[in-house]
């Protein structure tokens, strides 16, 4: 079975190619069928790989490598195109293809209308599926590649898919700009990735002539102390790459703008899968990070601060998708916090649960958006729960899971992270806990503002209605996931082997020890987080449903912060003023002064002088030929002179 693992890539590749060449002629229905079937087949293959890996002996770390072909060979730089099938990559492949398939299903209906609510023509409909199939392909290469160059291929490939999909409504300048911004900001991260790979090859890869994970990690043993200390630099560069792809401080600025893409794209790429690539990459590279404690602290702190910052911005956003975007940045921050404190399993666990509930939230938001003809401002909503009861329930489950409502999926995974942080540093724990309070509040602010109360825009409300089955039904799968996925990772303290996630991933993270707490400590932290989540929900309830006085005065006491948050801490403006504009000014200076004034000034001057001389030497000829003659003449004289004087 595992020998056919390449099929998992083949299906989405075939789907993308079919729709590239024949999509226009296939028509809406067939284009969607091909694209969906491709991802479904890929998902079934991922399930097969899961069982294949399970059957592998634990002694070999449950790892299987499938070489495909020799990719790049120059001297000792030998890169293979090969797949790595192990517990971690199968989890990722299952999430990517599983959630990916649900989103494809939803998109088959959603994408029939364009951004102005007009029917979308078959060519562009098919093109959408080309892009998303291509995305699935690249994401699978990213998680299944066995070496850093294959990772890089997937890494930039998903970036391209993201660029194309953010700019899918390219006639809107905001969408076009957002796509470009996403690609360029990610390139800044990729700068780190590229250099890190070169450095890794230089330090650990030359011996084996390889950049395969197992060769690099094997070379860590017995490496010189200098090489080990250089790992701090390498891992910081990898961290830079991760902050780009996973939208963390300092490179998070592209993700909120990425909401310009069609909503299924926001759900798939900018919430459930692609943006988790940074978390996956750090988890995959954990042997390197474990040896660089300084970087590990940086990862944890970047995660914690990003979580806090993004959650605080989410408090005041009024655009439903932007709330979810900042929420995604914040939740990714939790995952960084997890891997930063060495709780890799918790990080991957949260990645899985988050994929369910965030995809659910986005798709439900997409249903709302369609029902309101593109309106996303929660100030104009209200009362939708009666109009769209099914969507309401779906969104509610997603929000509750996000808010850490007890026993839902997000509760378990966030708690495992907070527990890891608590063991590591009480301060990190407190930041995480406070962020959890904000999270519960903003999640339910969205619920109450959109679905409860009286409609604030009668016209919109009158036209709102439940969306077709094609968009409603697939979400129930995500609802089940959001409700139950948490039981994959019950705390170890509850009993041996009760944490399925831990047991499954153990062969990958062997040798990383997360201190286990006593049952009492675990339960105590549970109670604290449950309370914090419920308090957050209650405050939102008091403020937006009951509209009680104390909640209003609470909000007023934070009024001075309002402009800071509404302007998102002015980060975009700062980057523009400090980096982008100075570079553009430098470019204008180079072009105008450097090229046109200095260099061409000299060149034209010399040209005029020689033309004059040339004209003098041979009046009958035009300037350039005389110059040629002159050069040959000077050359001949020089040779003669040389031999007379030297020779």
């Amino acid at each position: 079975m595992l020998n056919y693992a390449w099929l998992i890539l083949f299906f989405p590749a075939a789907g993308a190619l079919i729709n590239t060449f024949w999509g226009r002629r296939l028509g809406h229905r067939n284009a969607a069928i091909f694209a969906n079937a491709a991802v479904l087949a890929s998902f079934l293959m991922a399930v097969a790989l899961f069982f294949g890996v399970r059957a592998l002996p634990e002694t070999a770390h449950r790892t299987f490598e499938l070489p495909l072909w020799d990719w790049i060979t120059i001297g000792d730089f030998r890169i293979e195109m090969a797949l790595l099938i192990d517990p971690l990559s199968t989890v990722m492949a299952l999430v990517v293809t599983g959630v990916g398939f649900i989103i494809h299903l939803y998109a088959a209906t959603y994408m029939k209308l364009d951004d102005e609510h007009q029917p979308l023509d078959a060519a562009r409909y098919a093109r959408f599926f080309v892009y998303v199939n291509f995305f699935i392909l690249m994401m699978l290469i990213l998680v299944l590649g066995n070496n850093y160059i294959a990772l890089y291929l997937g890494w930039e490939g998903v970036g391209l898919a993201s660029y194309l999909l953010i700019g899918f409504w390219f006639h809107r300048p905001s969408a076009a700009d957002a796509g470009k911004k996403a690609f360029i900001v990610n390139r800044v991260g990729d700068f780190g990735m590229g250099l890190a790979i070169m450095w890794l090859f230089f330090l650990f890869g030359k011996e084996a002539g390889s950049l395969a994970y197992h060769d690099i990690f094997a070379a860590l043993e017995g490496a010189s102390p200098a090489a080990i200390s250089a790992l701090t630099g390498v891992t910081l560069l990898l961290l830079l790459a991760a902050t780009g792809k996973s939208a963390q401080i300092p490179l998070f600025v592209w993700l909120p703008d990425a909401m310009e893409g069609p909503t299924p794209v926001s759900a798939l790429i900018h919430a459930a899968t692609m943006v988790t690539a940074g978390v996956y990459m750090i988890a995959r590279s954990h042997p390197l990070f474990q040896l660089a404690p300084g970087t590990m602290s940086a990862v944890a702190w970047i995660g914690a601060l990003t979580a806090l910052m993004a959650a605080s911005i989410a408090l005041v956003q009024t655009d439903l998708k932007r709330i979810l975007a900042y929420s995604t940045i914040s939740q990714l921050g939790y995952m960084f916090l997890a891997v930063g404190v060495g709780a890799y399993v918790a990080g991957i666990f949260h990645l899985v649960t988050h994929a369910f509930f965030k995809a659910l939230l986005f798709l439900a938001a997409g249903s709302v958006m369609h029902a309101l003809h593109g309106e996303l401002n929660i100030d104009k909503m209200g009362g939708l729960k009666d109009k769209m009861p099914l969507t309401y329930r779906q969104f509610l489950v997603g929000a509750a899971a996000l808010a850490g409502f007890p026993l839902l999926s997000g509760f378990w995974s966030k708690d495992e992270i907070l527990f890891g942080a608590f063991q590591h540093s009480k301060l990190l724990y407190l930041v995480g806990l406070f962020t959890a309070l904000l999270t519960a509040f903003y999640a339910f602010r969205a619920v109450f503002r959109a679905f409860h109360g009286r409609p604030r825009d009668e016209h919109l409300f009158d036209h709102a209605q439940e969306q077709p089955d094609g968009m409603v039904k697939p979400l129930w799968v995500l609802v089940v996931g959001s409700l139950l996925a948490g039981f994959l990772g019950l705390p170890q303290a509850f009993g041996a082997h009760i944490n399925l996630m831990e047991s499954w991933l153990e062969p990958v993270f062997e040798g990383v020890h997360v201190p286990e707490g006593s049952l009492g400590l675990v339960l105590a932290l549970f109670v604290v987080s449950a309370l914090v989540g419920l308090i957050g929900i209650y405050i939102a309830y008091a403020r937006y449903v009951q509209n009680s006085g104390w909640a209003q005065s609470l909000q007023r006491s934070f009024a001075p912060l309002q402009p800071v948050l509404e302007n998102k801490y002015w980060v975009d403006e700062i980057y523009l003023a400090v980096i982008v504009n100075p570079l553009r000014r430098l470019a204008h200076f180079f072009y105008g002064f450097g090229d046109q004034t200095i260099i061409d000034g000299i060149v034209n001057g010399v040209g005029r002088v020689t033309t004059t001389i040339g004209a003098g030497v041979a009046r009958l000829q035009s300037g350039y030929l005389s110059f040629y003659a002159l050069s040959l003449f000077i050359g001949a004289v020089a040779i003669l002179a040389y031999f007379l004087l030297v020779g």
Binding site: W71, F77, H171, I184, R187, F191, F590, Y591, S631
Partner: protein
Amino acid sequence: MDNSGSILLSLIIWIPFLGALILLFLHSDRRLKQVALGTTLVDFLVSLLLLVRWQPTGEMQFQEFFAWVPRFGINYHLGVDGISLFLVLLTTLLGPIVILFSWNNIRENLKAYLVLMLAQQAAMLGVFLALDLVLFFVFWEFTLIPMYFLIGRWGGRNRIYAALKFFLYTMAGSALMLVVIFLLYFRAGSFDWLELRQASLDPGLQTIAFLAFALAFAIKVPLFPFHTWLPDAHVQAPTAGSVILAGVLLKMGTYGYLRFCLPLFPDATHRFVPWIAGLAIIGIIYGALVALVQKDVKSLVAYSSIAHLGFVMLGVASLNQQGLSGAVLQSINHGLSTGALFLMVGMIYDRRHTRLLSEFGGLWKQIPVFSAFFVVVVMASVGLPGLNGFIGEFTILVGAFQANRLWAVLGTLGVILAAWYLLTAVRGMLHGPLDNPENQKLTDLSRREIWVLAPLVILFFLIGLFPNLFFDKINPSVDLLIRDVQGPALALLLP
């Protein structure tokens, strides 16, 4: 060796010349085009025989030798190795492509145009295949003449200035080279590359010779600050001329370093290599930044060439396997992807008679096939993994990292900037609202235009996914080159 005694290389060089001669006797436009296209296609097919009969060695093969001017030891000596092989194939591939491109858009003096194109091709092939310095120089100089007329006759508004600048700049470089070629003959007794490679020249001579050659090649590449002829020439040249300029002519410069400067003057190479790397890096960043603020998309592409060629020269300067093999491949990549960019800019120019970014916007809605091609070409140029540009760029940077970490860091900055300026072009042309009425009348790519682009795009993927098809042939020659360059330096380390 099996393939010695073959006349394949002569055929490759002289078929286009022969075709040009035949054209002189034809009159109907249609017949002229057919013969020109047929000639270049035959030349391409003949050049593919090189692959068929290739020997897995790094040495010169398919050598041809006969005395030309025996009195002065000037010989007609041809040969090809892994460093020149793909440059030859690139040249013969671009030949039919640019003729097919020019099918309908040359309206005046078609015969002269086609004759010059074929002559140009023959001369460039001669440059890549000559192993005798005089023969090389003759071909080298000859490449100037057709291009001078192509720019000056069929070029844009400012064509006379551009043509003269192109001519004078490159002449200035090659004049010194000619002097040094004679100097080498008098000091080392030969014009022959194979013999000069064996001779160990004294360091003083090496320095003079290196500098003279390096100047000629630096202008051709072009390295900063010798680059200002390039934007003018590229922008003013007719599309086919720009494609040949960027695709092949610039590679004569990088090829010159690899063929002559490095193996013949190794001591001087070691001495000057930091300077070359420095100029290469300045070129990468300077070229990219200047490209960023261009209003004319053709000059944007022209400046991007300076940045891309900077990468090639950075690979040359790293003097190790990855850097050098990467440089050889990247010069091919640049020819393919920048060639394709110029072709596409030409296609849009033929329709709209403007190239200003501000005139466009929203084209994706009107001409989706063009747009899809354009994005693929841009991504190849951006260096997206899976396509050709990445393989060249990344291996060059791996090489540079081993030579000097700082070089790699600065070079990698160029990778960010490349995305910036190229996506600015995409944003300006394809994205945004389609609000200019002129653009609402545009027609999408014709079947002929798709045929022009398809071979290039297929090669993007072929090189990106299976670069070893190319490295297999490049690497052995690069290994020999490294032996030539490192020889004296290693000898110093011996007791």
